[in-house]
């Protein structure tokens, strides 16, 4: 088995609280796997364990065919002998070396071809003019590229990236992440990347591993993870959600917005229904603020694959965000309680407050979980 294999890794710091709890990760050559999770979930520790910067306590780490660390037997191949590249969040460029010296730092004296590669890679990245410059005069994006090239120069079998884009401003981030992905896909390196940004993970990853409190909660492709979250935590990680309460009846759960499938749950189980902000669809009924709300009920829509039965709501507020609009509306349940929902609608959608709208939910973006 080649690539990077972390098997059943557990880790605790001096305080005694486990940071990692039986985590297993496999990254195949040429594959990019993202560890996604909130800060403090143990993802950076996992990276450091893989690199050997942190001594493995329990489990096993394999790189290529070689076991590099074993918790039980105390085996520990030092970092420098593991053939890995690690790119740090702060890039950690050596301030006393120029750009070219930084990139070639990890190369043996006689690696003429790799030195050639370094030069051509620098010029491809638009850094040829900076080869003799020192890191402190580079912009954040340029430093990021130098750090990436430095990590790739010795042709590691495994590349570890610790929040590689968090130091960049939002506009540069999108370009640089595409550029980085292009560069990585040209190599056969097994890449394990840590991030707390779900959009970044979706963009970069072949597979996403969602971590929380030292455990891997879900392992899947970006599409699987987004559309089939295994827990409410995973669902909420990929963006804001509306939360409704309900009860399972005959494999379904009835809500104010219609019925949703809950075949996997027991009858009578109390559940929580999570609907993504972007999973709500609104259509104006043509009834304006001047008409008393509720006086003319809006027509229920036909149920299909993309729409639940829906309900009538009243606009509370609508704000333009540019590419989309953020909408807040209120629904009145049969028992008179008011439910406030938030939605994100593509384009400009700005009805007056008080206007009536028909609200439906996309079942693919609606997730039912056992109430905790």
């Amino acid at each position: 088995m080649s690539g990077l294999h972390l098997n059943n890794v557990s880790h605790a710091f001096n305080s005694g609280n486990p940071v990692l709890n039986g985590v297993s990760v496999f990254v195949a050559p040429g594959e990019l796997v993202c560890l996604l999770g909130p800060s403090g979930c143990g993802k950076t520790t996992l990276l450091r364990v893989a690199a050997g910067l942190e001594h493995l306590q329990v489990g096993q780490v394999t790189i290529g065919e070689r076991v590099v660390a074993e918790g039980r037997h105390g085996k520990h191949i030092p970092t420098e002998k593991r053939g890995i590249g690690l790119m740090f969040q702060d890039y950690a460029l050596f301030p006393h070396l120029n750009v070219l010296e930084n990139v070639t730092f990890g190369l043996p004296e006689n690696a003429a071809d790799r030195r050639q590669w370094a030069l051509s890679a620098l010029s491809r990245m638009g850094l040829a003019d900076y080869a003799a410059s020192y890191p402190h005069i580079l912009s954040g994006g340029q430093q990021q590229r130098v750090a990436l090239l430095r990590a790739l120069a010795p042709e590691p079998r495994v590349l570890l990236l610790d929040e590689p884009f968090s130091g960049l401003d939002v506009t540069r981030r999108v370009d640089i992440r595409a550029e980085t992905l292009g560069l990585l896909k040209e190599t056969d390196v097994a890449t394990l990347m840590v991030t707390h940004d779900p959009e970044e993970a979706m963009f970069m990853a072949d597979r996403i591993l969602v971590m929380d409190e030292g455990r891997v909660i879900q392992d899947g492709t970006p599409v699987e993870t987004y559309f089939e979250p295994l827990t409410a935590f995973v669902a909420a990680l990929f963006g804001p959600v509306n939360r409704l309460q309900g009860m399972v009846r005959d494999g379904h759960v009835a809500t104010i917005l219609g019925d949703f499938g809950a075949q996997h749950l027991e009858d009578g189980a109390p559940v929580e229904i999570l609907i993504r902000h972007e999973g709500l669809r609104l259509s104006a009924t043509g009834q304006g603020a001047e008409i008393q709300p509720g006086e003319i009920p809006c027509k229920p829509a036909p149920v299909d694959n993309e729409n639940s039965a829906g309900a009538c709501g009243r606009m509370l507020s609508a704000r333009p965000l540019g590419r989309s609009s953020h909408v807040e509306l209120v629904l009145t349940a049969e028992d008179g309680t008011e439910i406030i929902l938030e939605a994100r609608i593509p384009g400009v959608f700005l009805p007056q407050p008080g206007a009536e709208v028909l609200v439906t939910a996309n079942p693919r973006q609606t997730h039912v979980f056992l109430a905790s």
Binding site: L53, H73, H76, E80, L93, F105
Partner: protein, 577 residues
């Protein structure tokens, strides 16, 4: 058979590793243990029973030593506090003529060893000195009975002399603390109706308290360490007593007993200092700084401030430097004929060797504990760098006793095996002196290098390691080039302190071996200050080097811009872990 031994060795290594050990860590602990041996030796000797000496000491001289030492510490503590914080407040918060000059000039007395000032002051103020001769001429007094003049060679004189050369510790730290204080806090106190003076006492001083306490304890550690002044002034303090008991009464055990009592005082000082340092961290509260408001002082208040700042510089530096220069110019041929160059060469080579070793060991320990050796390594390094607080006389005993034992053992072994006695290989040679220097001043190099390494982010280490460097290669290729400047600073600090060092040198030096410090002490004690002036001046000149370093950082840091100055200000001289 072989495999089981291998297995045993392997499992032993693993057990070590589980404790956070590897090659570097083992090395670090070994070196730390070597440096800490003198301290451990003193403790062991002190704890070991040796009944009758003890009762003899406590019934005769001990109460006197305790009393005089405590009075000395009290006097120096109050004196350095008043002068140090007072002048620091004036130069940071007030505007008056000469403020920028005093800003750095107030550090100059740091270059003058207390014993040198003691000799100069005595020379000038005693009965035959310039001042009294002058007074007699003016008032027509004939002899001692005609007028009263304070006795210079007394406890009071020792307090005055030490205060004048040690207040810069308090000045340096409290000045940095005042600069660091947010203006807002001071302005709030003004808006709440407190005048500048009440603002000083109710806001600025309490906020700076941890820094001031650190400064005062450092000054007290130096006062406790002083040997030359108290010996010359015949003030029976502990340090003078240890020297006396050991060399004059020829009782090593007695000296060790005294050292152990003195260690209680030392530990109290270390505890106070550590406690105050911990408090210091909480004082980086507000990040809002602007140019500090400086009150412009008018006419007589400005004159008062000017004089208040001028006097310490004048008495602590200008007077000794001036008098010594005058004597040196007049009597240099006498000094040169007294083998000045031999003594200077001895001082230079001893100090250079000690500085080189201290920097090497300091770097090794700082890097070793950076590699994350776990609590054992950290504790060992901390203990090893405690020598700065232990008076030279105590350390000397701690160096002498283990080395003498080792010498005896080597001699015995050599006689047994080769039939040739080796004599004293280590004790009574310059090895002992260098050992003592390194044990005492390691904290300076370690502290400086640790602070410098701390500025390198840990991800630099990680980057170097993932790019194929072993810890040693990372040290050579990454850390070494990055801390090169600090290596020089550290070496300079240790070098200068070794040049000035007296009690350790005088006890541990080989027979008839003189350094500049011992030469000056010997000659000046025999009222031959003029002949030794050139030597004393050389020591002062060397002492000015670190003062220049500190002054530069002070000049570079302007009030209200503590970011540039704070780290460097509290910097090298007091960079103790």
């Amino acid at each position: 058979m072989a495999t089981t031994t291998m297995d045993k060795a392997n499992s032993l290594m693993r057990a070590f590793r589980r404790l956070g050990f590897d090659g570097w860590a083992i090395g670090a602990v070994a070196v730390a243990a070597l440096v800490a041996t003198p301290l451990i030796a003193v403790v062991i000797i002190a704890v070991a029973p040796s009944g009758d000496i003890w009762s003899h000491l406590s019934s005769t001289v001990l109460p006197l030593y305790i009393e005089k030492t405590l009075f000395l510490l009290l006097g120096v503590g109050v004196g350095t506090f008043v002068i140090g914080t007072g002048t620091a407040w004036l130069v940071t918060m007030c505007r008056f003529p000469g403020r920028w000059f005093f800003n750095w000039a107030l550090l100059l007395p740091l270059a003058v060893p207390a014993y040198v000032l003691a000799f100069v002051v005595t020379d000038q103020l005693e009965y035959a000195g310039t001042l009294q001769v002058w007074l007699r001429e003016i008032f027509g007094w004939k002899n001692r009975q005609d007028y009263w003049f304070p006795e210079i060679r007394s406890l009071g004189g020792a307090i005055a002399v030490m205060t004048l050369v040690l207040y810069p510790y308090v000045y340096l730290l409290s000045r940095a603390a005042f600069l660091e204080q947010s203006v807002c806090v001071l302005e709030v106190s003004r808006t709440l109706g407190k005048g500048p003076w009440r603002g000083f006492f109710s806001v600025a001083l309490p906020l700076a308290r941890p820094a001031i306490v650190v400064g005062v304890t450092l000054a007290l550690m130096e006062a406790l360490n002083d040997f030359g002044t108290v010996e010359f002034f015949a003030v029976p303090t502990f340090t003078a007593g240890i020297y006396d008991v050991w060399l004059n009464m020829n009782s090593v055990a007695g000296a060790a007993q005294m050292a152990s009592v003195m260690m209680v005082l030392v530990l109290a000082l270390i505890g106070t200092e550590r406690f105050a340092r911990r408090g210091q961290r909480y004082h980086h509260t507000s990040s809002k700084y602007s140019t500090l408001p400086s009150h412009r002082l008018e006419s007589w208040t400005a004159a008062f401030a000017f004089v208040a700042c001028l006097l310490p510089v004048l008495l602590g530096f200008a007077l000794p430097a001036g008098v010594l220069t005058a004597y040196a110019l007049e009597f240099y041929s006498d000094t040169l004929s007294a083998k000045f160059f031999t003594y200077a060469a001895n001082s230079l080579s001893l100090s250079a060797i000690a500085a080189g070793l201290a920097v090497l060991i300091g770097l090794f320990l700082a890097y070793g504990s950076r590699l994350g050796g776990g609590p054992v390594v950290k504790a060992a390094t901390r203990f090893a760098s405690i020598g700065y607080a232990v008076p030279g006389a105590i350390l000397a005993i701690g160096v002498m006793i283990p080395l003498a034992r080792l010498d005896n053992a080597l001699d015995g072994l050599s006689q047994q095996v080769l039939g040739i006695p080796t004599g004293l290989l280590l004790s009574g040679t310059i090895v002992a002196v260098v050992y003592g220097y390194v044990a005492r001043f390691l904290a300076l190099s370690y502290g400086t290098l640790e602070a410098s390494l701390d500025k390198i982010t840990p991800s630099m280490d990680g980057a170097a390691r993932t790019l194929g460097c072993t810890p040693g290669q990372a040290l050579r290729r990454v850390h070494f080039p990055l801390v090169r400047g600090s290596l020089l600073t550290a070496a300079l600090l240790v070098f200068v302190d070794c040049m000035k060092e007296l009690p350790l040198t005088i006890i541990l030096r080989p027979f008839n071996y003189e350094t500049l410090a011992t030469f000056v002490f010997q000659y000046a004690s025999d009222e031959l200050l003029e002949e030794s002036a050139l030597g004393a001046l050389t020591i002062v000149a060397a002492g000015i080097l670190p003062v220049i370093l500190l002054s530069l950082t002070i000049v570079r840091s302007r009030p209200g811009h503590p970011a540039g100055g704070m780290a460097a200000d509290t910097g090298p001289e007091v960079a103790v872990p």
